[in-house]
């Protein structure tokens, strides 16, 4: 559990983070979004004391980090730096092995772990492990950075735009894999991004910052899209937020129409209750049908029509 | 007159006293010291300017024909390794016993550093800036003078600082052909065990170098206002 209380940071009198209160539950993935220069990276770095706050208290698992030995503190926190920061003089495998070796693990163990993690981020250790960082593309380097941060299996992960340099197709794949991984491993993650779509996709909660380091809203993605607290957040979240909600709104019994009188053939493809509206709509378009069957476990519970989708969307927007 | 002063008591710089630092010496020989310093300054500046004038076309040549680059650098490095002790006497048959001998010799030494300064400076100009200039329709000459040279300036000046400061020291070797500026005093001081003279001249050398160095830094700041509050 990470808790920031009244944290501010000034650089030469200029406020960069302002009176920030933020709590990240154990196992939770929180995304920080906001325009460039709004203090996202600074906030992240205060958590592992790469930057010292001007005022305020930061606790991890109830312990004030300002009283912790920074070197020990950081070993328990994985950190993916925005500029990637691989060690140019070490091969890819060695880069990933660094932290386990710092911990005093054996070379063999560290190497096995490194290979495992490289595979995880989609880089074949055979093919890439013995290269130097400059022999990789920007996106590949960034994935190595993520693998390196995961290598020591730290309970807390800080990630600063971890997928920024990856091209869109691979990014989408990595995001999905990372989401699965995170749910599996249950790490506490703070992830910085300026891509609202990424934040909505990955975050359990999303913190929206404004210029000058003000926290505008801290809420679940659904909440954020449905009820931005002010015009500023609404603009940032985007004009398409209504449509973006398709991907976060889940199908509920009340959106459905009864299953009676519908031919079995028309139900050929179904989605489960709890799937997103986006999935349902995509299925309708794919099948060129104006409806899709919805199942709850083994049984049909109703059908969803375009009107139902719309109804669900409208409902989700209401306060 | 020094004659009378010497008659009264030995000055602090007479061979019998021979102090390392002696104000009386500076006072008595003021004219010599000023003349030597002036000559030193003139030779140093002339040599660096000569180095610049030679280095510029060489650097352009090396850029134009990359194959020549290794040759240009190799030859200038080769010249650099000739001991100055030998270079100046070697030049005398061609250039005579004149300041030109020293200026040419030292200009050749400065050349090595300056050619690299030009090349590295031009190389330090970001590719994207050059590409956009070309893309906007800059011809080669305009590109060189309006974009590449101004942007090469910080690196070039760094090289000029090294060249200038080293040349200040090397000018002293010019005493071999009687045009060494402060080197004449140093050499005289060494030969006569004239400590005050030796130390005064050596200190002046360093001061001269500091002065020229500061001058170059100030010049660079004036010429490159855009680097002043460089963003981090």
């Amino acid at each position: 559990m990470i808790r920031l209380t009244g944290v501010s940071k000034e650089y030469a009198g200029r406020v960069v983070v302002q009176e920030l209160d933020l709590e990240v539950g154990r196992g939770e993935l929180v995304c920080l979004v906001g325009p460039s220069g709004c203090g996202k990276s600074t906030t992240l770095k205060m958590i592992n004391r790469l930057v010292e706050p001007t005022t305020g208290v930061i606790e991890i698992e109830g312990r004030d980090v300002t009283h912790a030995d920074p070197v020990k503190l950081r070993r328990g926190i994985g950190y993916v730096i925005q500029q990637i920061g691989l060690f140019p003089h070490q091969r890819i495998t060695t880069n990933v092995m660094t932290v386990p070796l710092l911990y005093g693990e054996s070379k063999a163990t560290a190497r096995a772990r490194a290979h495992e993690l490289l595979s995880l981020v989609g880089l074949d250790p055979e093919q890439y492990g013995e290269r130097y960082p400059h022999q990789l593309s920007g996106g590949q380097r960034q994935r190595v950075g993520v693998a390196r941060a995961l290598a020591a299996d730290p309970p807390v992960l800080l990630m600063d735009e971890p997928f920024g340099a990856v091209d869109p197709v691979v990014r989408r794949r990595l995001q999905e894999e990372f989401r699965r991984l995170q749910q599996e491993l249950g790490k506490t993650v703070v992830l910085v991004t300026h891509d609202i779509d990424e934040a909505v996709l990955l975050g359990d909660r999303v913190a929206v910052f404004a210029e000058g380091g003000r926290l505008l809203q801290y809420a679940t993605p659904a909440e954020l899209l449905a009820r931005p607290v002010n015009e500023e957040v609404a603009t940032f979240v985007g004009a398409e937020r209504g449509l973006r909600r398709l991907s976060v709104t889940r199908i509920d019994h009340e959106h459905l129409e009864p299953v009676d009188g519908i031919k079995a053939a028309e139900l050929a493809s179904t989605v489960a209750v709890g799937a997103t509206l986006e999935e349902a709509l995509a299925l309708m378009l794919r099948n060129d049908r104006a409806m899709v069957g919805v199942t709850d476990g083994p049984r049909f519970v109703g059908v969803l029509t375009p009107a139902g989708v719309h109804r669900a969307l409208r409902r989700s927007l209401r306060p | 007159m020094t004659l009378l002063a010497a008659a009264r008591e030995p000055s602090c710089y007479s061979a019998l006293v021979n102090e390392w630092w002696c104000a009386q010496y500076v006072e008595d020989r003021r004219g010599d010291i000023v003349a030597a310093t002036t000559e030193h300054l003139q030779i140093t500046v002339a040599a660096v300017v000569l180095g610049l004038v030679l280095a510029f076309p060489l650097a352009l040549l090396a850029r134009r024909y990359p194959r020549l680059e290794a040759t240009v650098l190799g030859v200038s490095t080769g010249l650099y390794t000739i001991p100055s002790l030998a270079l100046l006497p070697l030049l005398v048959p061609f250039t005579g016993l004149s300041a030109n001998t020293v200026i040419i010799g030292l200009g050749v030494y400065a050349l090595t550093v300056l050619v690299r300064g030009f090349l590295d400076g031009l190389r330090s100009v970001p590719d994207d800036v050059v590409e956009s200039a070309v893309g906007l329709g800059y011809g080669p000459t305009r590109l060189l003078f309006k974009v590449q040279l101004p942007l090469a300036l910080p690196v070039l000046v760094a090289a000029m600082r090294v060249a200038t400061v080293s040349t200040v020291a090397l000018t002293t070797v010019g005493t071999l052909v009687s045009y060494g500026g402060l080197g004449d005093l140093i050499s005289h001081g060494v030969q006569r065990n004239f400590r005050a003279e030796l130390v005064t001249a050596a200190v002046l050398c360093v001061l001269l170098a500091v002065l020229l160095d500061i001058l170059l830094v100030v010049m660079q700041r004036l010429l490159t206002p855009w680097t002043r509050q460089a963003a981090r």
Binding site: - | M1, T2, L3, A6, P10, S11, Y13, S14, A15, L16, R29, D32, E39, Q42, I43, V45, A46, P89, V92, P93, G96, L97, S98, A99, N100, I103, T175, L176, V177, S178, Y179, D184, S187, H188, Q191, R192, N193, F194
Partner: protein
């Protein structure tokens, strides 16, 4: 740096008195002092004088005659240099301890080069070798021949190597086994080296007036290896033709100089560190050569 380079044209400005004259010489104290005397006299005669002091003779000889007009020279030194220049590095020396023979032998070389010598002075600055008083007493050494058969370290100018009035003469004529330390002619390092016992023998000139005070004594050149190093003005023939008026004052100077006087004057330069110019002027005024 243009103002540093001499302007060759202005030399021809006038014949007789006036115009520009370039003196060159070596930079050790004695040469500098004599050069200062030349300069003062020529200045008095209305010339604009430029002086170039260099480390060693070859450095100006290439320019003489040419951009250099007059050089305060030493007879044998100049003769031998001209000889090696003309006949190769290993040519047989032409100088000897006989002044007239030496002058005669070098005459053709001077002509070839376009030089002429004015009247030589009786003052002669020959190489001389010293030991410490202590060494002299302990080993009973007062003449160079007393060192025959000894192994000796000699502190001397680097050009000593192979010279008949130095290393070669000491080895061949005196039979001394010489190891050369190139520390300079009458340089502080040379004195220091002998005083420290690093070397036993040091090189200086016959005019050296500082030896006594330092506890050093000269050894007699009893086998006469020193050539006739009389002071003499060497002048470019062409220059002399245009400016015949330089001859008289320089000849007067040569006549006024002798070893004892010169020795005293040199001490004022080396020990009291008066400038050669001051000492020269002082002396010339005393002698009535200068008002």
């Amino acid at each position: 740096g243009d103002d540093l380079a001499e302007d060759d044209d202005s030399k021809d400005a006038g014949s007789g008195g006036g115009g520009k004259v370039v003196l060159a010489s070596q930079s050790f104290d004695e040469a500098a002092l004599v050069t200062a005397m030349y300069a003062a006299l020529l200045d008095e005669a209305g010339y604009e004088v430029e002086t170039k002091l260099v480390d060693s003779r070859p450095n100006y000889l290439g320019e003489f005659p040419g951009s250099v007009d007059i050089v305060p020279e030493y007879v044998a030194g100049l003769g031998d240099q001209l000889n090696t220049d003309a006949n190769g590095e290993n040519a047989e020396p032409i100088s000897s301890s006989d002044l007239d023979a030496t002058l005669e032998a070098m005459q053709p070389l001077l002509e070839d080069k376009g030089l002429t010598l004015l009247e030589p002075s009786e003052a002669a600055s020959q190489n001389a070798y010293f030991v410490t008083q202590e060494y002299s007493e302990d080993n009973g050494v007062t003449r160079l021949s007393d060192l025959e058969g000894e192994s000796i370290k000699l502190a001397a100018h680097p050009d000593c190597a192979g010279r008949d009035d130095c290393e070669a003469g000491l080895t061949e004529v005196y039979g001394i086994d010489i190891e050369l330390l190139p520390l300079g002619y009458a340089s502080p390092q040379t004195y220091q080296s002998v005083l420290d016992g690093e070397s036993q023998l040091g090189q200086t000139g016959t005019l050296d007036g500082t030896l006594d005070d330092q506890g050093l004594v000269l050894l007699e050149d009893d086998r006469g290896i020193q050539p006739a190093q009389n002071l003499v003005p060497a002048v470019s023939v062409a220059f002399l033709e245009e400016h015949p008026d330089v001859e008289e004052p320089l000849n007067e100077l040569m006549a006024a100089l002798d070893n004892a006087t010169l020795g005293e004057l040199i001490v004022r330069v080396t020990v009291d560190r008066e400038t050669p110019e001051d000492v020269a002027e002082d002396f010339l005024e005393q002698e009535g050569l200068l008002d």
